[in-house]
Amino acid sequence: MRVRVDGQEKSALPGQTVAGVLLAGGRVSWRTTRNGDRPRGVFCGIGVCFDCLVVVNGVPDVRACQRVVADGDEIRTQLGAELPGSAS
């Protein structure tokens, strides 16, 4: 399977989560916070903390640790608070 991460093509395996793909590729953060503009990535790993939010196919606030990738997914960094459909 192929996915794009911030515009770059990456290969992925069925059953991998977005966090699994990103961490395996050496990324530890893929979001910035709303107030402090601080980087965040996985914290709890099981869908509880909402730190790992990412934009998938234009939809923000997707928990990277919970979302299983699908072929062709467009994944990108989430900057602060994003509204659904806001431009990258």
Binding site: T17, A19, F43, G45, I46, V48, C49, D61, C65, P84
Partner: protein
């Protein structure tokens, strides 16, 4: 209505579903994950060399399905479900009614705040475990584990298994002084004690130091963790002056016990005993037709969760006329498991000295970025005692996680907050606003019988 519904497919929920199905009643098992197993039996996908847990005979498993709300209806409860990719818009909405509900929603790691804990590269121990087991990925290559409780040991093993170098396991308490001295508990936990002994051997073989009364008190780095400060602790978990050491790492994992995932139980109106759901010897809660099993009723590991699941599943099935033999083995296992759990709990408390690790600008609420100074000011200036006013004044717990991460810690820092108040979340799992606006009901699932 005439069916057992089990929420959570971990050791407790799977055992409940299996036990209920064995009596011949209809059983539906719901879990937000793709596969069965929950935390303990988490498997990697086949593409990464894992193998799925086989289906349970007689049980309809609704995978990738989240229960986001629960309401009482005449004769039972109605669950509101969403099925589909996590947090995707347009997941399928259905409802499921049941007269015999088993809640087995498990628990999640408790992390204590310390300066720098919000840096990328700081994980919970459970995150490291879930990523190693479920995704075959190591959270770092030089990893330090810190916290309290035996759970740090399997995490060390899994991290080594996916190629990380574990620099040490820092246990803030002194385990040997605790449960090992209680001979009855030790007897009750024979299997567990053997498992612990195996981990100790494993640590020695990989030359992983195990340091009691030691922890990580700060993480350092600009955009990710590059170093941590470790320190020796007093019995009350204050830092022993002069014991601080800097250690270069690329990941640090912390776990100070677990917090039960209570929102559905609280939504159902189940009475709590302290932090956990109160149950009787048949795992029945205070609400008719609602049973609870596993770590929402107390932290005690997978074996205890499974034994409780057997009792809960059987009791739920009996309510619908299912017949089964008295599960003597499970009853004995629950008794022994609880005894061992109580001893472990006594040996691994969270001690108040952690509050002295905080700096003014240490975040307490990670979502809303409320720091310790702001929390103290809210309490001092506005008398913001009580969950609602504390939230409104300081914004602690108002973020995306609805206080799951910070609630316990804020309660300890402020004192006198009620755990049920902290777990009151009308929406148990996230639904997108667009989804809420269009909450269709799939007719096939609608059960009005």
């Amino acid at each position: 209505m005439n069916r057992v519904v089990v929420v959570g497919a971990g050791p407790a929920g799977m055992a409940a579903a299996r036990a209920a199905a064995a009596t011949g009643v209809e059983v539906v098992l719901v879990d937000s994950a793709q596969g069965l197993g929950g935390q303990y039996h988490r498997r990697a996908p086949e593409s990464l060399g894992g193998n799925e847990i086989p289906p349970i005979p007689g049980v309809r498993h609704l995978a990738a399905t989240t229960v986001w709300a629960l309401e009482p209806v005449p004769g039972g409860h109605r669950l509101h479900l969403r099925t589909g990719p996590a947090d995707a818009p347009g997941r399928q909405a259905t409802v499921l009614d049941t007269a015999a509900l088993v809640l087995a929603t498990g628990a999640y790691d408790r992390a204590l705040p310390f300066p720098g804990w919000d840096l990328p590269g700081v994980f919970t121990a459970g995150a490291a475990q879930a990523l190693a087991k479920g995704q075959k990925v190591a959270v770092g290559s030089r990893v330090l584990l810190a916290g309290t409780g035996p759970f740090l040991l399997p995490v060390a093993e899994s991290l080594i298994g996916v190629g990380a170098r574990v620099l040490g396991v820092l246990e803030a308490n002194i385990p040997v002084g605790g449960w090992l001295r209680d001979p009855l508990a030790l007897l009750a936990g024979r299997a567990k004690a053997a498992e612990l002994a195996r981990y100790v051997t494993m640590l020695a073989r990989h030359r992983v130091p195990f340091r009691p009364r030691t922890t990580v008190i700060a993480a350092h780095g600009t955009d990710r963790v590059t170093e941590v400060t470790t320190a020796r602790l007093t019995a009350d978990w204050r830092v022993r002056p002069g014991s601080e050491r800097r250690v270069p790492v690329d990941a640090v994992c912390v776990g100070f016990g677990f917090t039960p995932q209570l929102e559905l139980a609280v939504a159902a109106g189940c009475r709590l005993a302290g932090e956990f759901v109160e149950v009787n010897e048949a795992q029945a809660t205070s609400v008719a037709g609602v049973f609870a099993a596993g770590e929402i009723t107390g932290i005690g590991g997978a074996d205890l969760s499974e034994a409780e699941g057997v009792l809960a599943g059987l009791a739920a099935a009996r309510l619908l006329g299912g017949q089964g033999e008295t599960p003597r083995r499970a009853i004995a296992a629950v008794r022994a498991g609880r005894r061992f759990a109580a001893a472990l709990d006594r040996a691994h408390p969270v001690r108040a000295g952690w509050q002295s690790w905080l700096a003014e600008d240490t975040l307490i609420c990670r979502c809303e970025e409320v720091d310790y100074g702001a929390l103290c000011r809210a309490v001092r200036d506005r008398d913001a005692i009580g969950v609602r006013s504390l939230k409104l004044v300081s914004r602690v717990g108002l973020g995306a996680c609805q206080g799951r991460t910070c609630g316990r810690n804020a309660a300890d820092l402020v004192g006198g907050l009620d755990p049920a108040g902290l777990a009151r979340r009308p929406i148990a799992a996230p639904v997108r606003l667009g989804e809420l606006a269009t909450t269709p009901v799939h007719p096939n699932e609608r059960d009005t019988s």
